[in-house]
Amino acid sequence: MKLIACVKATPDTTAAVKIENGKVTWGEAPMVINPWDEFTVEAALRLKETNGGTVTAVSIGGEEARIALRHALAMGADDALLISDPALASPDPQASAHLLAAVIQKVGSVDLAFFGRQAIDYDSGTTPAQAARLLGWPALTLVSVIKVDGVGLRVERAIEEGRQVVTAKLPAVISVVKDIGEARFPSFMGIRKASKAEIPVWSLSDLGIPAPSAVVEQLELRDAPVREVVCEFITGSNPQEIAEHLADRVLGEKLL
């Protein structure tokens, strides 16, 4: 099977993200593979292990995107592909969907394209569904269990109401959630291999498409307001007394 894992580099989850001169900054915090995309790669690798085939990690961006690709390689992806072009300053999620759909078509004979649920920078969560729509493939989003047999696949999706079982034919787009299984740590050998890997770069002309126009205009960025709270510690001489004080104070806020 030919499997593609779409990954992105984002600031580390613990990064102190803030706005400086109208731009997003995160100081010295490192860029990492988007945490959801560790599960993207994991899902693709597990399917390769049960059904055979190859896993190609794909990312769009500049040098930072190589961090995500090297992580995927270190986890066990067979190869990686970087989509980079000076005309792609900072593609929005919809532009990324156009680009990734074009990559998937250009690679050719892809059976499954894996995505993470969302990237923790834009938090949009729309790219997998949009890429599927552009490709005309089934969109199986928020998937927690995957089984492939022959030309078809059967997945479980995690939705508000519980689990939904869906079947579809290949090829398809899948976005995964954490339930897919714990993401493996890169092995020592994997890290060595990844650090030496030559990552091919494709430009827009390689893809044969113009730069997708950004449809969302960003007008302003600002720091989220800081929560102005001073914690009031509730005390008492025994648990009953503390519980009663706390219950009275909570109910006093008139939110229940």
């Binding site: 923790i120 938090d123 729509r133 034919k169 954490k178 706390l246 806020e253 939110l255």
Partner: protein, 337 residues
């Protein structure tokens, strides 16, 4: 503005953010509700009562289960017959997905997870949290229609007016099915984390009750999980007093105490209840990202330096296992008549 609102439902039961979206639509003018499914007369009636003026109803067995490609195709052909300025969706899993596909089909953009809207000429400007809520972005899209998804529990839910009615127009179902829905395993009633008014969440701290004696024959790991699960049972009891839901920190999920569906945080669910009880949760930045927009946060932790207290209104430094039973009793006495 001519506003359409997509009413997201599961088996004819609307998800509450759908009505919040109707309320937002009313502030912009006349609201047309989109209802897709099969056998939905009663949902249409309820939609009128929440303020929808006109309903475009695609009622067809092919729409019995939500399938994104078929629903998107229904939406596309419905739009091509009549058009609108703004399309609002609730940011539910279906709403987000369908809005994303509609943006492709209608050659426009999608503004996801709005927490505020403002009008600028004939456009709407959306405020949406990015970077897990650390940054707020103001965004817009100049293409027509403007497609926006609204975060749940942010906008007020309009009052239901019994007997209110409107115009119902039937529209045709789309086609192009690529998927088959085999079935569901529903999570067995109970309110979902995203809809809950009150959430009681637990962390690793729940496993630390030395007084509990696990059944014989368990190894250390099994005993730890067993202890934590006794703790979560108590959280469930407290949540039940409020008709609320139980959540968990990533640490508790990764340790295998409870399923991932309960995880609140950056790589779990994003919640904003009226009251959030954090029990034995230290408050890692990745947990805070998922619950910091709760209206009132109450933390119980044995470490008074735990970061969770920095965003909490009320805190108790102490032993969860002594406090929880007393708290269940105290709230029951006050709330359950």
């Amino acid at each position: 503005m001519n506003t359409w609102v997509y009413i997201d439902h599961f088996k004819g039961e609307a998800l509450p953010p759908s009505w919040e979206a109707v309320g937002v639509g009313k502030t912009l003018g006349k609201v047309t509700g989109l209802i897709f499914g099969s056998g939905l007369d009663s949902l249409a009636k309820t939609a009128f009562e929440y303020g929808v003026d006109e309903i475009l109803l695609a009622d067809d067995p092919v729409l019995l289960d939500y399938r994104p490609e078929v629903y998107a195709s229904t939406l596309k052909q419905t739009y091509q017959g009549r058009t609108c300025d703004v399309m609002l969706f609730p940011t539910t899993s279906r709403g987000r997905e369908l809005a994303a596909m509609a943006a492709i089909d209608l050659r426009t953009g999608v503004l996801v997870d709005a927490i505020a809207l403002e009008a600028a000429g004939d456009k709407l400007i959306v405020t949406r949290p990015v970077y897990s809520g650390k940054v707020l972005a103001k965004v817009t899209c100049s293409l027509q229609p403007q497609i926006i998804t609204l975060r749940g529990r942010v906008f007020p839910k309009p009052a239901q007016q019994a007997g209110r009615s409107g115009t119902l127009t039937k529209v045709a179902a789309g086609s192009g099915a690529l998927t088959t829905i085999e079935g569901y395993t529903t999570s067995g009633g109970g309110i979902s984390l995203s809809d809950a008014n009150v959430i009681v969440s637990g962390g690793r701290g729940l496993a630390e009750n030395p007084a509990l004696q696990p059944p014989a024959g368990m190894d250390a790991k099994q005993a730890e999980t067993w202890r934590a699960q006794q703790g979560f049972a108590m959280l469930k009891e407290l949540a039940a007093v409020f008709g609320g839901a139980v959540g968990a920190s990533r640490a508790a999920v990764d340790a295998g105490y409870v399923p991932y569906a309960m995880q609140v945080g950056q790589t779990g669910k994003l919640v904003s209840p009226n009251v959030y009880f954090a029990c034995g949760i230290s408050g890692a930045i990745q947990h805070l990202a998922g619950m910091r927009s709760s209206k009132l946060i109450v933390a119980i932790n044995k470490d008074k330096e735990a970061p969770i207290f920095k965003i909490s209104r009320f805190g108790v430094v102490g032993d969860l296992y002594q406090l929880l039973p007393a708290l269940i009793t105290a709230f029951r006495q006050r709330l359950v008549k």
